[in-house]
Amino acid sequence: MPTINIDEPAVLIREKRLGTINAYSGTAEELVEKSHSKQLKDSKRRFSQCLGCNAGQALCQLSMIEDVAIVNHAPVGCAGDFSGFNFVYRIEQENRNLPERNGRYFSTNIQEKDTVFGAIKKLEETVEKAYERVHPKAIFITTSCASGIIGEDIEGAAHKLTEKLGIPVATCTCDGFRSKVWTTGFDAAYHTVLRNIVKPPKKKGNYVNVVNFWGSHVFDEIVKRFGYETRYLMPFSTIEQLQECSEAAATIHICPSLSTYMGAGLSQLYGVPEITVPPAYGVEGTDRWLRALGEVLGKPEVAEEIIAEGHRDIVPKIEELKERFKGKTAYVMAGAAHGQALIHLLRELGFEVQGASVFHHDPVYDSDHPEMDVLQHAVQTYGDVKNYQVCNKQSFELVNALYRIRPDLILARHGGMTLWGAKLGIPTLLIGDEQFGIGYKGALNYARRIDEALDSIEFIKNYSEHASKPYTQWWLDQEPGYFQSGGSGKCTSGRPIAEL
């Protein structure tokens, strides 16, 4: 069943579109099997900690489009992430030699009376004020729990404003409670861009799309060898570039968990082919990815050239470092596909990956291409991962798992999680730039940084001795999946509260 439907104002949430789950404890192999036989069921938890919400991820993809304003139709608290994105925006402007500029984000500041008397007027006023102040090429309205529950015709207001202002005013439906999978917010952002901004192709462009966050431009050099330019979506794109992204020769994913909807959308609506093998992490992964790219761009010989160069110039350096990782164990925590790619990479570097905690699991992507399954590749190439958890940033489960596994190294991808490795005295490495690990050079980058992390253990050990540890011993003595359906703590009602 096709999952892309831009006639609908709101994107279908990932749980319903892809069967995505948030909780799982078991082996990686079993997870792959169940995903393919469509037997995967999400499980609930009897205890939970703060998640992210899809509104944040929607803003993540919309907030750095160069010539837009964002109106968050929400109470003021939902705007708490404005400043964080602005900070990133400004730093990355400098990295791209762009002029200094604040992101232009507005809150409609929904208050109690608005939940009774309606907030549409407020929304219209705010959109108009944003237009007057910014004169953007488009305005995106992001929604919230409160605006969703009030249930007004935001889409209708957006249409009216589009006509009045003469620029696209587009709704991005991302009410916090809509989905427990915060990556649904990426889908929501891509959906509104596909629905309201992207135009049908007029010609074939000489460029490929790279759907990413605001990572370094590592693809430029590679793509150029094939005779193409690169366009990075959506942060730092202009509205005009987004309108044209249907004309691209291909779409590259840095992480299919991020861009499944955009890639499949451009492919299904406008015939832009996706690179449907897992992203280029690790030597073997890069070989495979380059061959797939060469095939799509019709130049397999260029791919072979780049592969030969990589194996000649870079792989020997990685081999040298690998010696130092022999016998070491590692644990991975990261978003879904990216985490799976890191498992692959670590094993290639010679680590024994004892376990992983990924934030959600998509049994399939919107393209429905089975070869995109990153975890399957990891399992097929290097065998099973025993302690594989799907855990949407539930740090209590993570701490519990780390407490018993005690790896030599933790590789993390996402803030707020590294703390726990350090508290337990385990060297923990967080790489912010997703593109840092791409390609042969990326594998070498990772190897060097890992070597560095393992070497600077003094700080971690000292901090560990003095760090606060809020979890009870009782909890650390239970199994990590204790509070999940199927875990031994699922029926707690009526049970006396344990002594602390």
Binding site: C50, G80, D81, K122, R133
Partner: protein, 444 residues
């Protein structure tokens, strides 16, 4: 109040959960949507603290909770919070979803309170107010549901005071500012319950709130409902000082007012004030030549985008003790209208010499607009080097105006704050160091 806010500088009522994080071994339990805790944290948090951030329990409302209510889930999360997280005080705080669906939080938390668990609830309700108002309500809720119940001794203790000042995390210097206030109040011989941060003894200290001889409120409005509540409940009188005391003039003024209210022996407090002023002015003496002679320009005019308490406190200090003249003051804390006159009055009386100063004071949380106003006004002063007191959002404005920016408000982002504070005598010196540090760092 304004319907549009560009660049918000405060958060919703749920933001009061950060005040729980600021109580030693306090555990917030959020009954809210999935992203709320994180969004609040992105604006005001300074790391996780003990049990904030990704450690904070949360019910993560989803569609079915919005339709059918989330009470069952809440009960389960509370019950298991006691098992999983080792805390001294647990506080359930609600977001928008629970406020709209009308879950009976009181009844559920009541079940645990009946078992004498250390748990409190606050129906904050996200959109119902902001984190300034909810902070007051939080303190009142803890007093009503925890302190009043578990405090064994409520006899008034001579010389013991409760201090209510900075809103933790919303004031990025909360910890340092509270420490600064505690230090000077102890200096004149009082015993101080500071309640939040590293100089507090946590819930043990909270349990002595009823014993205070009087309460001290620092600030023009936040906390007034708390001291009034405590007056009703325990008959505790209070004294209000309407802004953060920064530097020698204001700190001495503050201490003399408190000493008089407390009926302390003037000799005792004056001895401390003299000693501190002596040290303070010795440092000023050392650096006066720099201020008077530095030939490459130091700030002459200051614009503020901050909360009322910080704005007044710094403006008084900068005018009277550093000679930097206040320009437009943008008060962005959503201060209720009934308190705005008093703030204006503070600005009218800002000069220690009683000189009339016409300072434009704007009350509007729409800080995006404030930036436009500042940019416009600054055009009238092309010859003056400008100081901006604001947040990370002012970084761009500062470079446009070639102004020096001292970040004193959230979002902070371009500074790292641990125990830095600007209250008291030491806080004044620190302010001077920080301002001229930024000025001097601009020279090659």
């Amino acid at each position: 109040m304004s319907s549009t806010i560009e660049q918000p500088r405060f958060t919703c009522a749920l933001g009061a959960y950060e005040s729980v994080v600021a109580i030693k071994r306090g555990v917030p339990i959020l009954h809210s949507g999935p992203g709320c805790g994180g969004k609040v944290g992105q604006l005001i948090a300074q790391g996780e603290g003990y049990a904030g951030g990704s450690t904070a329990p949360c019910t993560n409302a989803e569609e079915q909770d919005v339709v059918f209510g989330g009470e069952k889930k809440l009960r389960s999360v509370i019950e298991n919070s006691f098992k999983v997280i080792d805390g001294d005080l647990y506080v359930v705080i609600t977001g928008c979803t629970a406020a709209i669906t009308g879950d009976d939080i009181g009844a559920i938390v009541g079940e645990f309170q009946e078992e004498d668990k250390p748990i409190v609830y606050l129906e904050a309700g996200g959109f119902k107010s902001n984190n300034y108002v909810a902070h007051e309500r939080l303190i009142n809720a803890i007093v009503d549901q925890y302190v009043d119940k578990f405090a064994e001794d409520k006899e008034v203790e001579k010389g013991l005071v409760n201090v209510f000042a900075s809103v933790p995390y919303q004031d990025p210097f909360w910890n340092g500012n509270l420490e600064g206030l505690k230090r000077i109040l102890e200096g004149i011989g009082l015993k101080v319950n500071i309640l939040f941060g590293e100089e507090s003894e946590g819930v043990k200290e909270w349990l002595t709130i009823p014993k205070a001889e009087f309460n001290i409120l620092v600030g023009p409005w936040v906390g007034l409902n708390t001291v009034k509540h405590l007056k009703r409940l325990y008959g505790t009188p209070y004294i209000q000082f309407p802004y953060l005391p920064v530097g020698a003039v204001e700190t001495s003024r503050f201490l003399r007012q408190v000493a008089e209210f407390a009926g302390l022996e003037p000799e005792q407090s004056e001895k401390y004030i003299k000693k501190e002023e002596g040290k303070y002015y010795a440092h000023i003496d050392k650096m006066a030549s720099f201020m008077l002679e530095f030939r490459y320009g130091i700030p002459r005019r200051v614009y503020t985008v901050a909360d009322a308490s910080t704005s007044i406190g710094f403006s008084k200090f900068l005018l009277n003790e550093l000679g930097i003249i206040p320009g437009t003051q943008n008060i962005v804390d959503d201060i209720p209208e009934k308190f705005q006159e008093a703030v204006k009055k503070e600005y009218e009386d800002i000069s220690n010499l009683g000189r009339q100063r016409d300072i434009d004071v704007r009350f509007d949380p729409d800080a995006g607009r404030a930036q436009e106003v500042i940019e416009e006004d600054a055009k009238n002063y092309p010859d003056k080097r400008i100081l901006l007191l604001g947040s990370a959002w002012e970084k761009g404005l500062a470079s446009k105006l070639k102004a020096d920016l001292l970040i004193v408000s959230v979002p902070v982002q371009y500074r790292l704050i641990m125990n830095c504070g600007y209250t008291g005598y030491e806080g004044g010196l620190r302010t001077i160091e920080d301002i001229y540090d930024r000025v001097l760092a601009t020279y090659r």
